[in-house]
C-alpha cells in the first residue's frame, strides 16, 4: 500500500514538475514574443522618425526655392519699374506692346545705353510702303522695281551685318544650315520680331528656304494691284540677306519663292549658296 502511495506521490511530483516546465516554457515564449513586439515597435518608430525628417527637409527645400523665386521676381519687377519710369519720362508715344517687348529684351546687350528707344512700327511699315509706291511711280516695269529694291537692300545688308555681329556676338557658323538657322532665329527676331521656320530644299545642302507666316512689312497691304502682278513687295529683305551674307564671304542668291501677296499660301524666301559645301573647308580662316 505504501508503495502505491509513494508511486502516486512520485507521479504527482512528476506531473507537477512537468507542469512547471510547461509554464516555464510558456513564460519564456511570452517573453520572446514581447521582445519581438518591442523590437518591431522600435523599428516602426525609427521609420516614422526618418519619414518625418525627410518631409521636413523637403519642406525646407521647397521654401528655399520659393524664397529664391520671389527674390528673382522682385528683382525683375524693380528693373522693369526703373525702365518704365525712364520710358514714361520720354515724350514719344510708345505703344504698350513696345514697352513690353523692350523690357523683355533688356538682356540684349549690357553696353547699350537708354538711348536705344524704339520708333513706332507703323512709321517703319508706312515708310517702306511709301518707298515701294514711289518706286512704282518711277519705274514702269516690275523687274526694274524689284532690282532697285534688291540693290537698296544690298546696301543695307552690307552695313547691317556688322551691327548684327556686334550686338549678338555670335560665333562663326560652321555650316550653311547653321548660318541659315542663325539668320532665321536670331537676325529676323532681332530686326523684325518674327521667327521664320527653316527648311532645306536640296540634298546637296546648298538651298534653304525661310517660311514667314507673319511679315510685318505687309501688315497694311491687301493685294498687289493688277498691273503690278509680278512685283516682289519685300524684295528689300532679299537684298539685305544677300548683302549681309556677302560681307561674311558667303555668296548666295536670295529670292522670293512664294508670296502671300501673289496668292500663295505662305511667304517663302529661298537662299541658295553658290559655292559647294566642300569648298568651305578650304576657305582661309579670316
Amino acid at each position: 500500500m505504501q508503495k502505491t502511495e509513494e508511486q502516486r506521490g512520485e507521479k504527482r511530483r512528476e506531473e507537477k514538475r512537468r507542469e512547471e516546465k510547461r509554464r516555464e516554457e510558456k513564460r519564456r515564449e511570452e517573453k520572446r514574443r514581447e521582445e519581438k513586439r518591442r523590437e518591431e515597435k522600435r523599428r516602426e518608430e525609427k521609420r516614422r522618425e526618418e519619414k518625418r525628417r525627410e518631409e521636413k527637409r523637403r519642406e525646407e527645400k521647397r521654401r528655399e526655392e520659393k524664397r529664391r523665386e520671389e527674390k528673382r521676381r522682385e528683382e525683375k519687377r524693380k528693373r522693369i519699374e526703373i525702365k518704365l519710369c525712364c520710358l514714361r519720362k520720354k515724350s514719344y508715344k510708345l505703344t504698350s506692346k513696345y514697352i513690353r517687348s523692350y523690357t523683355s529684351s533688356m538682356s540684349r546687350s549690357p553696353g547699350r545705353k537708354q538711348e536705344n528707344h524704339k520708333i513706332s512700327r507703323e512709321l517703319f511699315v508706312l515708310t517702306y510702303g511709301a518707298l515701294v509706291a514711289q518706286l512704282c511711280k518711277d519705274y514702269e516695269k516690275d523687274e526694274d522695281v524689284n532690282a532697285c529694291l534688291d540693290r537698296m537692300g544690298y546696301s543695307i545688308g552690307i552695313r547691317l551685318i556688322d551691327d548684327f555681329l556686334a550686338r549678338s556676338a555670335v560665333k562663326k557658323c560652321r555650316s550653311y544650315s547653321e548660318t541659315v538657322d542663325m539668320i532665321a532665329q536670331v537676325a529676323f527676331k532681332m530686326y523684325l520680331g518674327v521667327t521664320p521656320s527653316v527648311s532645306c530644299n536640296s540634298a546637296t545642302g546648298n538651298e534653304f528656304s525661310l517660311i514667314l507666316d507673319k511679315n510685318p512689312l505687309v501688315d497694311f497691304v491687301e493685294e498687289l494691284p493688277a498691273e503690278r502682278a509680278s512685283l516682289c513687295y519685300c524684295n528689300l529683305l532679299c537684298g539685305v540677306i544677300r548683302g549681309a551674307l556677302e560681307m561674311v564671304h558667303l555668296a548666295a542668291e536670295v529670292s522670293f519663292l512664294q508670296d502671300r501677296l501673289k496668292g500663295d499660301a505662305v511667304t517663302e524666301i529661298g537662299i541658295t549658296f553658290l559655292r559647294k559645301p566642300e569648298d568651305r573647308k578650304h576657305r582661309r580662316n579670316k
Binding site: 552690307i158 552695313r159 556688322d162 551691327d163 556686334a166 550686338r167 560681307m247 564671304h249 582661309r284 579670316k286
Partner: protein, 219 residues
Amino acid sequence: MAIFSVYVVNKAGGLIYQLDHYAPRADTEKTFSFPLDLVLRPHDERVVVAFGQRDGIRVGHAVLAINGAEVNGRFTADGKDVLEFLGNPANYPVSIRFGRHRLSSNEKLMLASMFHSLFAIGSQLSPEVGSSGIEMLETDTFKLHCFQTLTGIKFMVLADPRQTGIDALLRKIYEIYSDFALKNPFYSLEMPIRCELFDQNLKLALEVAEKAGPFGPGS
C-alpha cells in the same frame, strides 16, 4: 593705366582710322658744350643718336628741338642743316631736345598694313587648324590687342600691359563702329572714317575703359 592708341584696319589691310589717345612723352632736353659726346647721324628724314646713351637719351632718339626751336627734319627752324650747326663750336653751348619721334601718318599706314599681313601669316603658321590670327602681342612696355570681326575688319588697341578689360573694349569699339560709321549714309565702306560722332564716342569708351583700370571686368 593707359590706352595708348587705337587702329582700325579694313579688309584689304589699309588703315581707315587711327587715334593716339595717350602718348608717353619721354623727351629729354639738355645743354651741351663742344664737343658733343653723342654721335649723331642722319636717318630717313631725321637726325638720330647713333652712339652714346646717357641721362635718358637713348640710341634711336631723334633730335626734336635745338635751343627751343623745333627742328624740321634734318634742318633747323632757320633752315640750317642740323649736323653742320652742331659741328660748329661757335654755336655752343646749345640745348638740344632728344626724344622718340612721333610716327607720321604714312608710317602708320605702312605699319598697319604690315600687321595685317603678319596677322594672316600667324593664322597660316598655326599648328592648330582653324585658328585665328594674332590676338595679342606683348612687350614689356605695351600690349597690342587685335580683334578681327567676321567681316574682316580689324580693331587694334595698344595699351599698358597692366590694363584689363581690353576684350570688352574691343567689342565696344566694334559696336561704336557699326553704329556711327556704318549707319552714316555718307560713309563709304572701307574708306577712312571721318565721322565726328565716331570720334566722340570712341574717346568716351576709352575713358570708361581706362577708369575701370586694372580691376576692370575680365581681360
